[in-house]
Amino acid sequence: MRVEVENVSFTYMKDTPFETTALRNVSLTLEAGVYHAIVGHTGSGKSTLMQLFNGLEKPTSGKVSVGEWEITPETKQRDLHELRRHAGVVFQFPESQLFEETILKDVMFGPLNHGKTKAEAETVAREALLRTGMPAELHDRSPFELSGGQMRRTAIAGVLAMEPQLLLLDEPTAGLDPEGQQEIMQLFYDWYREKEARTIVLISHDMNQVARFAENVVIMEQGEKQLAEKASALFTDESLLKKYQLAMPEHARLLKRLEDASGKPLDLNAFSDEAALERLLRFLREGDADA
């Protein structure tokens, strides 16, 4: 689903001494079928921005369009119910939303809320659990008996079971060990690749992750949109990254150091081990040819 944000501002606790402006006059377009990322420091307004995309927050002023839905300050909560089936959110530490007796029932919660019959809900729930790496023998366990990683997978299954078109991810791998992070990110990527129209918006502090998966990056700072740029262009441009105080992804950074040290121009557009290895081998072999 396409997301369009027009002149949106958002203020928390309006008319109190604690009033804080989270978003200031933000306008942007996120095309359907693309893997987007929103980056920025803590408190930059990126989480608030993302919560506008499925109507969890309504703008204080301005308009947000998501697919065929429009969200303005006047929009009623009940008009957003249907939108939420199409736009799923995986929050930071999503395991804190688990509540049912069994993990199967928990994953069925979303589909049931959206009018699926019990049998239909069970089918999609089991599918979603298998997809997230939760084998059938675990489906009748209590979510509170699981390991942290398994709880995270169950919570993610609970979102995927609603069969959304747009998936909003707010630091979905926070607190996991590197192996777990890798697996979860791959899982989202596989889901995204499955159908043309699927869209992802990822919030992450990990630039390696963002560079590896996202195609389009939006930079937020103090509630304002700073830049929307292709990931491959942003993450190979050291001065641009410096300007927004973002770390260069580690593969590109290594290649950049090598470029600086050797004086030979390198293609920095490499964000995985394989791509970096290929660039390094080419560097060494070209060096050979020169000699």
Binding site: P178, A247, L254, R257, A261, F283, L284
Partner: protein, 274 residues
């Protein structure tokens, strides 16, 4: 005497399964030791044995010259060996920063005047000036962990144990806490034991212990452990990128030195490669 001595330590929560098995190591005064392992390797359990939050099933843990089994000295031991936990939110007790920093001092019965000074000094050392009256829930993750550190340093400890203290933080917070660890260890000579699954962070330590399935797989300098690599693979830890890439290059038949650890070393090796 070494501030931490662990001898033949075994531990289990239930009767059936040992979470820790025959662990032996010592930590020297002023040393920075990283204990690395993936989730469930037993590394956090080990941390909690070091200051007597958990008691060994067999074997001994002697921290700051006091056996953790000795009930008489346990309070004294905990004052000498402070601990920062993983969840920044769940270890701050008091409604403001200054009160929280004072909590340990209050417990230790430090007189009013000295307490005021120590709190002020600790807040300044952890670069929290101006946040004295801030409520914990209005702090960033990195700030919360620094408040926890300030509460510990105010007690003037010999050892600080960090139990995955950076794993819940964003990159900025992680850097803040790591910088403080560096100052405390390198400038003030406090012994640091940091439990982590971040190999990057562990590479800065003087020594690295690798845990896997409740056992100690390796105990060596990070450089030596990165050179062996197999240990890290077995322990399901991610290799730092320069180490990983030089390994992949060697597999492609490129001859590179065995002990490449940092980005700079890899770049240098590649530039000199013939």
């Amino acid at each position: 005497m070494d501030p931490i001595i662990v001898e033949d330590l075994s531990f289990s929560y239930t009767a059936e399964q040992l979470v820790l098995q025959d662990i032996n190591f010592r930590v020297k005064q002023g040393e920075w030791v990283a204990i690395a392992g993936h989730n469930g390797s037993g590394k956090s359990t080990l941390a909690k044995c070091l200051n007597g939050l958990l008691m060994p099933k067999s074997g001994e843990v002697i921290t700051c010259g006091r056996n953790t089994k000795d009930k008489e000295t346990i309070m004294d031991l905990r004052r000498r060996a402070g601990m920062v936990f993983q969840q920044p939110d769940n270890q701050l007790v008091a409604p403001t920063v200054a009160d929280d920093v004072a909590f340990g001092l209050e417990n230790a019965g430090i007189p009013f005047k000295e307490m005021q000074e120590r709190v002020k000094e600790s807040i300044h050392r952890m670069k929290l000036d101006g946040l004295e009256d801030r409520e914990p829930h209005r702090l960033s993750g990195g700030q919360k962990q620094r408040v926890a550190l300030a509460g510990i340093t105010a007690l003037r400890p010999e050892v600080i144990i960090l139990d995955e203290a950076t794993s819940m933080l964003d990159p900025v917070g992680r850097q803040e806490v790591q910088e403080m660890m560096r100052t405390l260890c390198r400038e003030e000579g406090i012994t640091i034991v940091s439990i982590t699954h971040d190999v990057e962070e562990a590479s800065e330590a003087d020594r690295m212990l690798v845990m896997h399935e409740g056992r100690l797989l390796a105990d060596d300098t990070p450089r030596e452990i990165f050179r062996q690599q197999e240990v890290l693979v077995q322990a399901k830890l991610t290799l730092p990128l320069p180490v990983k890439l030089s390994r992949m290059l060697r597999e492609e038949g490129i001859r590179l030195p065995q002990d490449i650890m940092s980005e700079q070393e890899l770049v240098d090796a590649l530039c000199e490669w013939k």
